[in-house]
Symmetry: C2
Subunit: 329 residues, 2 copies
Amino acid sequence: MTTIRDVAKHAQVSVATVSRVLNQKGYVSKQAEEAVLAAIKELDFRPNAVARTLYNKSSRMIGLILPDITNPFFPELARAVEDIALTYGYTVVLCNADEDIKKERNYLEALKQKYVDGIILTTNQLSFAEVDKVGVPMVALDRIIGDQIPTVVSANKEGAEMATTHLIESGCKFIAHLRGPKGLATADDRLHGFRKVVEKAGVASIVGEADFYFEKSEQVTRDLLEQHPSIDGIFASSDVTAAGAMKAVNRMGKRVPEDIQIIGYDGIPFGEMLVPSLTTIAQPIYEMGATAARLLIKLIEKKPIEGSYFELSTNLIVRETTKRKEEIE
Amino acid sequence: MTTIRDVAKHAQVSVATVSRVLNQKGYVSKQAEEAVLAAIKELDFRPNAVARTLYNKSSRMIGLILPDITNPFFPELARAVEDIALTYGYTVVLCNADEDIKKERNYLEALKQKYVDGIILTTNQLSFAEVDKVGVPMVALDRIIGDQIPTVVSANKEGAEMATTHLIESGCKFIAHLRGPKGLATADDRLHGFRKVVEKAGVASIVGEADFYFEKSEQVTRDLLEQHPSIDGIFASSDVTAAGAMKAVNRMGKRVPEDIQIIGYDGIPFGEMLVPSLTTIAQPIYEMGATAARLLIKLIEKKPIEGSYFELSTNLIVRETTKRKEEIE
DNA sequence: TTGAAAGCGCTAACAG
DNA sequence: CTGTTAGCGCTTTCAA
């Protein structure tokens, strides 16, 4: 391994000078600079990131802790975060907490130990206190940890209202909502949006708990449908959940959208892969990730931030699992 | 931040002693040890990972470079790698190269700079020479970089043979294969397996290039079907590709499996989410990831390895996109 | 058993 | 403009 000393020797200058040209800081004569640059090239020298980190207490890395890398929503989010981070010269370290609070804790600790400059959390099992004491700039993404932590989410309640309204406009008379995990603010908000609309419209409704898992969703949908055969619309709280519902509907010999209309939530590419393709509320996934990344970087660089709570709006994508109103008239 | 010095002072011993108890190395009196342990607890001291890494030139991290985090096959693989690595006390750093050779190169360099102890590569755009000169223990997973690099793959050719045989036994007379990217050994092997079986059976066949992308697969399938309306079986080289084919078939007003039978390759949960659910060749994804991780760790720890090429066998999972032979008789 | 001190590779005072 | 030197926090000789 070639070090800054080797370069200094080779270029016949001191290590300080080499460091100066490396960091473009302080005065260096044209001549010295050239000698150093030449030596660097000749020796194929690359400054040791660990040594730098140790001294600077900064690694130009940001950690991204995901709850479940297996749910395609999160990889999408990760892509956006990575894109922006790279733009600003930060590397992102992906951590998969696997819905396990212990792993979450470990990663938080490990990242801090590695002197990451900041962390984006898409998990919220940890309490604010626990997260806060890590003492590294953080932003919460798609999950809410506390109002002390800058947060980026989508407009879950409005999205849910849109979804529910769409089902009603499409003629549904009895709508089931497959809600996400209890206590998860995003899931609760979607439920509230749903409730608000069905109540206002006086449409029959029921709620099942599907968390965000396919299998659970399939099972819950089946149970719901058995008990309430007149259900004709399902608002699933994620696209994966919607897929579970579709499967259940299909297994029970009913058709989508003829017998039962289904709308998902997320807007991941996955929805288009289904047959029939999934009508859904698209979150601005890329924008969410990008916003969180930019926000975190501002925090890191101690630049002013304009607000600490960003709620990005969603939009309805009508595909094949719901019928437009006109078609049923 | 509390350092080893603080602990030493607190415990009234030297930093060397603290280091000894931290690493359980060298002689330490019972008394000293207890004092140190107490001080550590009291001060909530955690050794600085970066400083350790700098000295040891080892970080107990392994890098995992994925080509496309958005294809659900890779997150599955990542989970397995993580599981095993954690077991052995290694942390894994996920890197998403995004099918971009530049990012791949950057990550390779960055990981080396961070003193990762080893790297698992699931990409192969880089040449052996380029990969080799990084000088960090490596294993290739699901991709082949060269016979100098220990490799873990599944039995692609056999898997493809099974898939094709299954379609023939299910009554297909004209089978299309949606192949993966040219030059990718796994994709080439699947093609060869396909060819071998159709030729031997004298079944009509055709090959389309779908890479591993949904959209491309949908388009290619559509083209193939327009030109050859008598195609009645499709062997897709990945589950995502199969989904694209299903979509195309559906769009063209044909039914799966009645008109066209489809079999995928991978065995990711995604296949079960489709309607009808996807018959597929399941790779032992978890085993693959686990094997690669164990192999790499042996390499890192300079333990003997039993072989440098591991080909794990696949197996057929019959679901709804193909019909059993009996049913068609 | 223990501690002093050198050094992992780099940065930044500070003095020249 | 440039070099010397003292660390960043930890590990490991080496001598006591």
